[in-house]
Symmetry: C2
Subunit: 290 residues, 2 copies
Amino acid sequence: LKELKQVTVIGLGLLGGSISSGILRCCSGVRVVGYAHRQSTRQKAEELAIASHISDSLPQAVLKADIVILATPIGIFEQVFEEIGPHLPAGCIVTDVGSTKVMSHKWAQAKLPDTVCYVGSHPIAGAELRGVEYSRDDLLDRAVCILTTTKETDPHSIEVLKHFWTKMGCSIKLMDPAEHDRIYANVSHLPHITAASLVNATNENHINAAGKGFLDTTRIASGPADIWADVLVTNANNIIDGLDELMTELHRFKKVIKSGNKEQIAKLLDKARNKRAALVDYKLKHKEII
Amino acid sequence: LKELKQVTVIGLGLLGGSISSGILRCCSGVRVVGYAHRQSTRQKAEELAIASHISDSLPQAVLKADIVILATPIGIFEQVFEEIGPHLPAGCIVTDVGSTKVMSHKWAQAKLPDTVCYVGSHPIAGAELRGVEYSRDDLLDRAVCILTTTKETDPHSIEVLKHFWTKMGCSIKLMDPAEHDRIYANVSHLPHITAASLVNATNENHINAAGKGFLDTTRIASGPADIWADVLVTNANNIIDGLDELMTELHRFKKVIKSGNKEQIAKLLDKARNKRAALVDYKLKHKEII
């Protein structure tokens, strides 16, 4: 594997800032160049020293990059690919950390020059907070990082990224972008909509009576709306399927509660309980949670 | 207020055990008698010393009680009221810590003698774990405790219970049982069903890809199924209304996601985000969370 000299991170929010500072912590000798569109973000990033250099020029920022990481909202990926395309050095690896992957691959294919290689990345980490000021250089510790690849993806670039994310504390899984989007519609995008819908369905006059259970169940609804709107819109079909399945389950509960059949209610609850227990066991066993 | 000499806790699970040991910690001089149906539970309770005395006789346990607290599943309240009725001393205050209140008031009215006073209690605290071994004498610290009362409820008994739960670390709110059940259908029972439905709707082949967001959103689905079946069955009508409202919100999301209208999606997400932010502010301001 060729030695990494420079990684450029485009977009310095919670995730971009955490990746930048994580590289400083985990990959000694690598120069990290951070780019943010807003002057105020760049200033905060400078103050927090989350990169080796903060650039106010997108072309300049990528000019000598071995790896370019897009950490902006998904909605501007296409435009960023277009803008950086002519300035990327040959052999550069371009990746992104967006939560959906089919569209990113499509845009990369259309907008990036043939002299560079695109691989999708999705580190399963984050928080409901936003902004570079919430960056943590250990955010990716123990995270799973999905790499999305197609038959056309350059094998060497996959190896470089595997090595890079592993150094950042991640364990790696490879997926096809369509498979990725199907799975994460189910385990991430659907819970997000559910949490938001639960809050929206709660009577204004009742909500302050909520306890810890409600707060936990709805935590992710505090995530940034614009970033999540991009996620949902780029994975619409899978999410609609998931919503239908969720509503089927809710109807099932409604039916047994209406009938007053305690055994049937307990059976549905127990199914969920056992399934979640198996998930927690898996996560502990694979050291994805502690 | 008359001096408390004995409190009897019936049912020594996570909540009953925590209340027992909490009384030992917070109310010095008060004798705590714990009763559990199962010998194995009594033995664990003895070993953990969560009460002054563990009794294997329900009549004996309540014979000298100033306050009796039911901490069993709701489904056996009626039977417990019937069994303890003849043995309760005159002036005894009977309460319970169940999550629904209309049925408890009804059963108390029908089964308890006129010589005792019933008030409903609902400390908003708990965990997804079950069993006396998970008892914590500080479980009620900072919890809100709802007291449910009707026009017939003895005012002195309300004062005694207010004082008691306050000593246990709770802040007190008074509610009518019907109002209580309406509110907690919304903020507690509906989230529980939602969490369980989300787990049940998740493809077995996808679930292990879940991250922290999914785990948090579904945490309460790991709660004990039989206890929760009792809760849901005793608050069916309110919960069915809540399920309908939730499904309306999910349909709203489905519609805007289908249309691909990013602004409309962001608007729904933002509504939830702002509403939850206001809730968190309220909780912080009232020191219900830290």
